[in-house]
């Protein structure tokens, strides 16, 4: 395989079908529409299912139906569309079904705008609609990482029978850069043992999430919580840059993390002891590594394209052992590396050099 110049949305779409996605249902919304458009052409070419739904609500319920049939299935949208999908996500979560949802985040709240944002951190990490649940959430910082994490998303979804959200921001969806696509995988020849395929030669299977008795509902919730504990144990992912001797640690994910890396590199060239911790999994939050790095840091700077959402997870891990600062831009504004450099210089003066 070789590298090609690819737009993020198209790369995610192509990676998904190569990872064995058999059915896609979606609804147009900027800045993710190229993803739907690519699949509108490619899925029928491969004899697979593509359908433009009448709404995001219908799209996620079509995904729910296809997931019940035991095939790899996906939808994609952007922030307001993900808001609409919360109902279906909750049912999928409560039915132990695997599926992948791509959120190419845009500015909010409300209709907001179509510019890059990370304002969905709460929406995607805290729950899937109502009830106690967390999707697995993956945050790419480049087109190549978006490709790799799309494949991983399908594998994790099947491994845990769990909802996986690829949380890309509008920058990742819209930018073009070189990336290598994965090889085309064969579709599985058999359906999983929960799939609704008709009760031929076996008892009927039922997929539902309705428990009238509190004890039964609580017991089911405990099963979800046990699975989440396994996920937290095994699936924390992050990358680190210049962290060996960093006294100031920047924490940022996705595009904000990538921009922060430019700032960190600039300051390193000037001999200043800064490093970057970039979470790949937003849920499970990579708390084990962050806790270890916190032991050596004098201060932490969280950088996000929102008002400070992951900031809460960082504070939970750091537990006031070191000062935690925040630099964020909102509403579709993207920080420049210089803004982060300035924020770091201020912290260096007050927390490290003083």
């Amino acid at each position: 395989m070789s590298r090609e110049l690819l737009k993020g949305n198209v790369a995610i779409a192509e990676a998904a079908l190569r990872a064995g996605m058999y059915a896609y249902f979606g609804y147009p919304i900027t800045p993710q529409t190229e993803l739907l458009e690519h699949l509108a052409r490619r899925m029928p070419e491969l004899g697979r299912v593509f359908l433009q739904a009448e709404s995001e609500i219908a799209a996620i319920n079509m995904v729910y139906g296809a997931a019940c049939a035991g095939v790899r299935t996906m939808t994609s949208s952007s922030s307001p569309g993900i808001s609409l999908m919360q109902e279906g996500l909750s049912y999928i979560a409560a039915s132990d079904l695997p599926c992948v949802v791509v959120d190419v985040m845009r500015g909010g709240p409300g209709l907001g705008n179509i510019l890059p944002s990370q304002g969905d951190y709460f929406q995607v990490t805290r729950s899937a609609g109502h009830g106690d649940y967390h999707p697995i959430v993956l945050a790419p910082a480049s087109v190549q990482e978006a490709v790799d994490l799309t494949v991983l998303a399908f594998d994790l979804a099947d491994q845990y029978r769990h909802l996986v959200i690829l949380a890309a921001d509008g920058l990742i969806g819209q930018m073009m850069e070189p990336a290598e696509l994965p090889p085309m995988r064969d579709l599985p020849t058999e359906r999983p043992d929960y799939a609704l395929t008709g009760a031929k030669g076996r008892p009927p299977r039922r997929i539902a999430s309705f428990y009238l008795q509190a004890e039964a509902e609580e017991a089911y919730n405990q099963k979800i919580q046990a699975r989440l504990a396994r996920i937290r144990q095994s699936e924390q992912r992050s990358v680190e840059y210049f962290t060996d001797d960093a006294q100031i640690l920047v924490v940022g994910y996705g595009s904000a993390g990538r921009i922060a890396l430019s700032a960190v590199q600039q300051l390193r060239e000037q001999g200043l002891p800064v490093g970057l911790f970039r979470p790949i999994t937003l849920y499970p939050f990579p708390e084990a590594r962050l806790r270890a790095l916190t032991a050596q840091a004098a201060a932490i700077l969280v950088v996000e394209m929102n008002a400070g959402q992951m900031l809460e997870d960082v504070r939970l891990v750091v537990a006031e052992r070191v000062p935690v600062h925040f630099y964020g831009r909102m509403g579709g504004a993207v920080p420049m590396p210089e803004e982060i450099v300035n924020a770091l210089r201020q912290i260096l003066q007050t927390e490290v050099l003083s």
Binding site: M62, V63, Y64, A69, A199, P204
Partner: protein, 258 residues
């Protein structure tokens, strides 16, 4: 064992009535006099007669029939309120050889799920919809439904409903691409026999790949109408039939040839 029964078991007798294979043997949770049980039995009989049980998938709604999947010996699942046609679309598109059925009440289909049923019909999605119209929300205790009659008193229209009910069969039948849309009633044995025939036709439509099929069934809700079961059946005849006439609203040319 009495003598006459002993005698009967030794005589050859033809079975004329039994539990359908597609129906689960378990006590019902529906109220006395409710016609959900009749509708369930008709669907189960139809699945048996067409030998579809082993490839049927039932999508249950939210409402009184929320447990519908438990009453059928077929694969089943549970849709969010109103979303059964979208879920059925996902199930059917990835396995077109299966028989996918939604079973929905009037609040589910005509109110919160009005968008999903309209677009499933507009796509001529080859699924079969069993639509139970009893002019009220049953599960939540008798609130106004989109099919509640003008002037009908419910817990949320205590002074009588203003405005007109939605007539879903008529509404969907204007879409030229649909295959089979009919309304039947469950208030007398004669009407029940006609309802059974319509369900058989709707399932055959799906089997033949002819497109969207829906059977609307006028049903009773004695509990929330505040009537006895016999009074409720009379109420269908007297009040519902004039507003919701039984009849064939859409039978495509291809369906006529079945």
């Amino acid at each position: 064992m009495t003598d006459w029964l002993l005698e009967a078991t030794t005589t050859h007798m033809e079975t004329v009535y039994c539990m359908p294979q597609s129906l689960s043997a378990q006590p019902t949770h529906y109220c006395p006099g409710c016609t959900h049980g009749v509708a369930h039995r008709l669907l189960a009989e139809a699945l048996d007669e067409l030998n579809m049980r082993e490839r049927a998938i039932l999508v249950a709604p939210v409402g009184c029939a929320v447990f519908a999947y438990q009453y059928f010996e077929v694969d089943g699942c549970e849709a969010p309120h109103g979303r059964a046609p979208a879920m059925a679309t996902g199930l059917k598109r990835v396995q077109p050889d299966k028989i996918v059925i939604t079973y929905q009440g009037d609040g589910d289909l005509a109110s919160i799920g009005a968008g999903e049923i309209l677009h499933a019909a507009a796509r001529n999605e080859p699924i079969t919809v069993i639509f139970i119209n009893n002019a009220i929300y049953g599960m939540t205790g008798g609130q106004m439904a989109p099919t509640t009659l003008t002037g009908q008193r419910t817990t949320s229209s205590p002074f009588g409903r203003e405005g007109e009910p939605l007539r879903m069969s008529e509404l969907l039948a204007v879409l030229p691409q649909t295959a089979y849309i009919v309304r039947r009633s469950l208030h007398t044995p004669a009407h029940i026999r006609k309802a059974k025939k319509a369900i058989l036709t709707a399932l055959k439509v799906q089997q033949a790949g002819l497109g969207f099929s829906m059977v609307e069934l006028l049903s009773s809700c004695p509990t929330n109408w505040g009537l006895t079961p016999p009074e409720a059946l009379e109420w269908i005849e007297k009040h519902m039939l004039p507003v919701f006439p039984v009849g064939d609203y859409k039978v495509s040319e291809a369906v006529k040839e079945l």
